[in-house]
């Protein structure tokens, strides 16, 4: 070890003599060299006066380690100004493997500290490497060596490492005693489904440490899956359950331990209760590791991760080992009900105070709550609390018997409305699609898909590896070196190992890359769209999440119908409006699924006419250009982005979504009240015409302002109507900020009132044309002069179908 002078010496120092020469043995705390240092001291002279004098003091430097002096880096007479390396000492033992505070090689105590201790010996081996023992730590060098060996071995056998999560990934566990009763009861409707549920008992677990039974349902096809995958991957278990739990599960899924061996890591050894860390298992290199887990957030959306859809067999139980994890963001909750009425945000249950969460199907989690729970991992007090919370979850489950409750509800429902439920569609998620007669169903196909995906990654990895190895310089070098390298190195070249972190995203983005998705009604208001679980997941596939619809948008993923964005998207013919299920299914199956079965049935009222190419350009550019302008219409948004941004960039002024139906009805009435007469619409046309001539390229903005002035009468009217209502104020604002795009939509809806006719539309077109010639530039035109008769006709037809929902547009037109 190279000894370095500490900062604490009184520099500059002068070396006076070296006490040891190369080859000498030296013990800890034995003097290595003498040196002098200068400092000022207080002295009392013969007259009794104190004065500061600079004095030279000799002292000696002591070794901090045992060993043999190899080489001096300094010589006698040197003056040293700061910390430098002074001597190389060969240690008999570098303490690279330590066990329980001892060096595992020489048996020396690593926790000793003295006045001369620069760095604790225990710091030399900081890495925990073994799955099931936290007392064993190794140095980085040793970790590297072990890992390199492992990689060689894997490459030679053409395998990768696979880290497998247990709960909800390959099994589903519950402690609800109802399962045990149903299992015994042949008459129970769930008897069939429960037949292959395994059970075990953990003695010092559960309420009051009395022990409780765990019921384990294996994911369908698990046995084959593990057998097949074990040929391509070396399997590791990484679970948030306790050690005993993990061992018991391993006994069930792998009784011979041929698959997992003792590569099992539980939360007892994980080091964190809230996050999983790949470096705990693979401290230096994660190139050859693939993870499968049902939660991406605990892994920080690691690039090695394949997120699988959670296995939810025992309905409503969720993950029994996740009560201290940040709450799951529920991304799968899109059932028919949600389409009909906006999901109410459920009151968030607090973890720390022990109100155990009822895991799945519950409310959405704010990013903040997540951070808070995530951050609690290091605080021992919080950790204890979280463990208590976990215990209480189990207690709740044992006592409350959620399954029994659900079955009761189900039976009650059964008696009540049997027929109406038959119509619920069957493409919904399995857990949502509760059968009428028994609660538990078992038609999960995830593992079969997963196997394909893992095979795909494996094949791609070794293709890449073989390619780089046989081609190019690396291959030649390897070939040249072939004679010299030892046998084990012959078929492997560690430098050429590709990285799963590169390969997986490549495969994934080939499938779904290039898609630009806009969410609508998927995430609760106030969520950061870019950081929500579903977004992170989608982004790992190279999908771009955008907050607004523009020309690049390919899909609108709508959590429910009739949102502002759905309406807007109808005007972009190439934007496919799909349900959330499409995205989820695509992500889960790693396929670009056909959108057809997932298309959202757009309410006819919401269907706006398609934007013409020109106005689309306008829209695209206006996103950029208008962002710094205050003029713009109100954009009421039910999603995450702040309203201000929309207000600034404003383009859309559709009626606000997210208000309840009464309010909406009120607004519609209000609108209908001041839906203008012919005069108004004419004046509007006039205004527009004026505008065309003056506006030029910035015509759009100018027109907005003009329209605003024209609006005034209507505004007054409205002010009288509903001054206080925030909604009406918003709408008012939106009138003032009318934009060109709105005109597009509004040109036809006027027909709804049977006021203007085709004549008027034609008239408008004429104006447009005139304006185009006048202004010399028409790229700002909302109404495209190229619109032909067919377009017009279609627009008119569409407009006939419109109803009050578009009234706002009509108003704009009529002002």
């Amino acid at each position: 070890m190279l000894l370095r002078l500490p900062y604490s010496l009184h520099y500059p120092i002068t070396i006076t003599s070296l006490l040891k020469s190369a080859g000498d043995d030296v013990k800890k705390d034995e003097a290595l060299f003498r040196y002098n240092y200068k400092t000022k001291v207080e002295e009392i002279n013969i007259w009794g006066e104190t004065e500061w004098k600079e004095r030279n003091f000799p002292t000696r430097f002591e070794s901090t380690v045992d060993g043999q002096v190899e080489e001096w880096k300094i010589s006698e007479g040197d003056v040293i100004d700061g910390p430098i390396d002074v001597v190389e000492i060969a240690e008999p033992c570098a303490h690279e493997v330590q066990y329980g505070g001892m060096c595992a090689e020489c048996g020396k105590d690593m926790t000793e500290a003295s006045y001369n201790t620069e760095m604790m010996d225990s710091m030399r081996a900081p890495i925990q490497m073994s799955h099931d023992n936290t007392a064993l730590t190794v140095s980085e060098k040793e970790a590297n060596r072990v890992e390199e060996d492992a990689k060689r071995r894997l490459l030679a056998s053409k395998r990768l490492s696979l880290v497998v999560d247990l709960d909800q990934t390959i099994i589903h566990a519950t402690v609800d005693p109802t399962v045990g009763e149903w299992k015994e009861d042949k008459d129970n409707p769930n008897y069939e489904a429960l037949r292959d549920v395994r059970q075990f008992r953990l003695i010092d677990d559960g309420p009051g440490m009395r022990g409780c039974w765990y019921y384990i349902k294996l994911r369908p096809g698990l046995e084959d899956f593990l057998q097949n995958i074990a040929e391509l991957y070396e399997l590791h278990i990484y679970t948030m359950g306790t050690r005993a739990y993990a061992q018991n599960i391993a006994d069930i899924i792998d009784p011979t331990r041929k698959l997992f061996g003792d590569r099992i890591l539980s939360r007892d050894e994980s080091g964190s209760l809230t996050a999983k860390n790949l470096h705990r298992l693979f401290p230096t290199d994660t190139k050859m590791v693939v993870i499968i887990d049902d939660r991406g957030d605990v892994w920080g959306w690691n690039k090695n991760l394949i997120k699988v859809s959670p296995y939810d067999f025992f309905v409503g139980i969720g993950d029994i080992n996740s009560s201290f994890l940040p709450q799951k963001q529920d991304i799968g909750e899109t059932n028919n009900k949600a389409v009909a009425k906006p999901p109410k945000p459920e009151p968030k249950e607090h973890h720390a105070n022990g109100a155990a969460d009822k895991p799945t199907g519950e409310g959405d989690v704010s990013a903040l709550a997540q951070l808070v729970t995530m951050g609690g991992g290091d605080d021992p007090r919080l950790r204890a609390e979280q463990t208590n919370a976990q215990e209480e979850t189990i207690l709740h489950q044992v006592e409350d018997r959620p399954l029994l409750q659900k079955q009761k509800e189900l039976d009650a429902e059964d008696d009540g409305s049997a027929e109406s439920s038959e119509s619920t569609s069957s493409i919904e998620e399995p857990q949502e699609n509760k059968h009428r007669h028994h609660l538990l169903e078992d038609h999960d196909r995830e593992l079969f898909q997963l196997q394909e995906r893992l095979e795909q990654v494996h094949a791609k990895f070794f293709d890449e590896y073989d390619r780089t190895r046989t081609s190019g310089l690396g291959g030649r070098v390897a070939a040249l070196r072939g004679e010299r390298v030892p046998m084990k190195d012959k078929d492997v070249d560690l430098k050429l190992v590709p990285d799963v972190k590169d390969i997986m995203p490549k495969i994934k983005s080939r499938i779904l890359g290039g898609i630009v998705v806009v969410f609508s009604g998927v995430l609760p208001l106030g969520t950061d769209t870019k950081n929500a679980d579903i977004s992170r997941w989608a982004m790992s596939f190279g999908i771009t999440i955008s907050s607004r619809i523009n020309g690049r948008t390919t899909h609108l993923v709508a959590g429910r119908n009739r949102t502002a964005k759905v309406r807007e998207a109808t005007r972009w013919p190439e934007v496919k409006i799909v349900t959330t299920q499409w995205l989820l299914d695509s992500l889960v199956s790693w396929r670009y699924l056909d959108e057809e079965p997932y298309l959202l049935p757009v309410h006819p009222d919401d269907r706006g006419e398609p934007l013409s190419p020109k106005s689309r350009e306008l829209a695209d550019s206006s996103w950029l250009s208008s962002s710094d302008e205050a003029a713009g219409s109100m954009f009421t948004e039910d999603e995450a982005q702040s309203e201000d941004i929309f207000r600034e960039t404003g383009l859309d002024d559709h009626s606000p979504v997210g208000y309840d139906e009464n309010e909406q009805a009120a607004v519609h009435d209000e609108l209908r009240d001041f839906l203008g007469s012919d005069d108004e619409s004419e004046s509007d046309n006039d205004a527009w015409g004026d505008d065309q001539t003056s506006g030029g390229k910035k015509r759009k903005r100018g027109e907005g302002a003009d329209a605003g002035t024209d609006d005034e009468s209507a505004d007054d009217e409205e002010d009288e109507d509903k001054q206080g209502s925030r909604l009406s104020q918003r709408i008012k604002r939106s009138y003032e900020r009318s934009t060109g795009l709105r005109e597009v939509a509004s040109a036809v809806p006027t027909e709804n009132n049977a006021l203007p006719t085709r004549e008027q539309a034609e008239q408008e077109q004429d104006i447009d044309k005139a304006a185009a010639s006048n202004a010399g530039s028409d790229d700002g035109l909302p109404e495209n002069p190229d619109d032909d008769e067919d377009d017009l006709e279609r627009e008119m037809l569409a407009a006939f179908e419109n109803d009050d929902d578009d009234d706002e547009d009509i108003v704009d037109e009529n002002e």
């Binding site: 493997v97 066990y99 329980g100 505070g101 001892m102 060096c103 595992a104 090689e105 020489c106 048996g107 020396k108 105590d109 490497m129 073994s130 099931d132 023992n133 007392a135 064993l136 190794v138 040793e142 072990v146 060996d149 492992a150 071995r153 056998s157 011979t256 331990r257 041929k258 061996g261 003792d262």
Partner: protein
């Protein structure tokens, strides 16, 4: 090394146990609490006999009785240099974990003879010299303790099998 050690323990007894079987109860309590305990310095293997149970003292205010029991017990205190037999609990690329009775002993790779190599491809993985010596989970080993480190309620030890007459039995 094993010792016969005389020790004393204070047991408090709830008044509901006052009665004819008090003595038996005290003995059961002592056995339950002491046997198998690790003090951080040694393991209590077995309580041999009571030297003196002594007179109980009723504590004021609570009514509990306090007994100071003197007893003799066989204890095991592992020493550096001691040779013990142990059973392998798991094998890792970095070394072997073994259990010598209550004591967990780790044998680092450096303390395994160099001809006995890590062989991860077998099921279960093992250390072997590709001859008659195979070390896998469950194998009995004779090892020498290289170092002992007391902890709060446990003792960690490291061992070696890199000497004559050590290794799989």
């Amino acid at each position: 090394m094993f010792f016969l050690k005389e020790e004393a323990k204070v047991i408090t007894l709830h008044p509901s146990y006052f009665g004819p079987n008090m003595r038996e109860y005290l003995i059961t309590r002592l056995n339950e609490e002491e046997e198998g305990r690790c003090t951080g310095d040694h393991f209590v293997i077995c309580v041999m006999d009571m030297v003196d149970i002594g007179e109980g003292r009723v504590m004021p205010s609570s009514g509990h009785a306090e007994y100071t029991i003197k007893y003799r017990a066989i204890i095991w205190k592992p020493f550096r240099g001691e040779t013990v037999d142990a059973i392998v609990t798991s094998v890792k690329p970095t070394g072997i974990f073994t259990l010598a009775g209550p004591l967990s002993v780790f044998i680092a790779r450096k303390n395994i003879p160099s001809d006995i190599k890590w062989e991860p491809n077998t099921v279960p993985p093992q250390y072997t010299d590709h001859a008659d010596q195979v070390i896998e989970k469950g194998t009995s080993l004779r090892l020498k303790i290289l170092g002992v480190k007391p902890d709060v309620a446990a003792i960690n030890a490291i061992g070696t099998i890199k000497e004559d007459y050590l290794g799989p039995l």
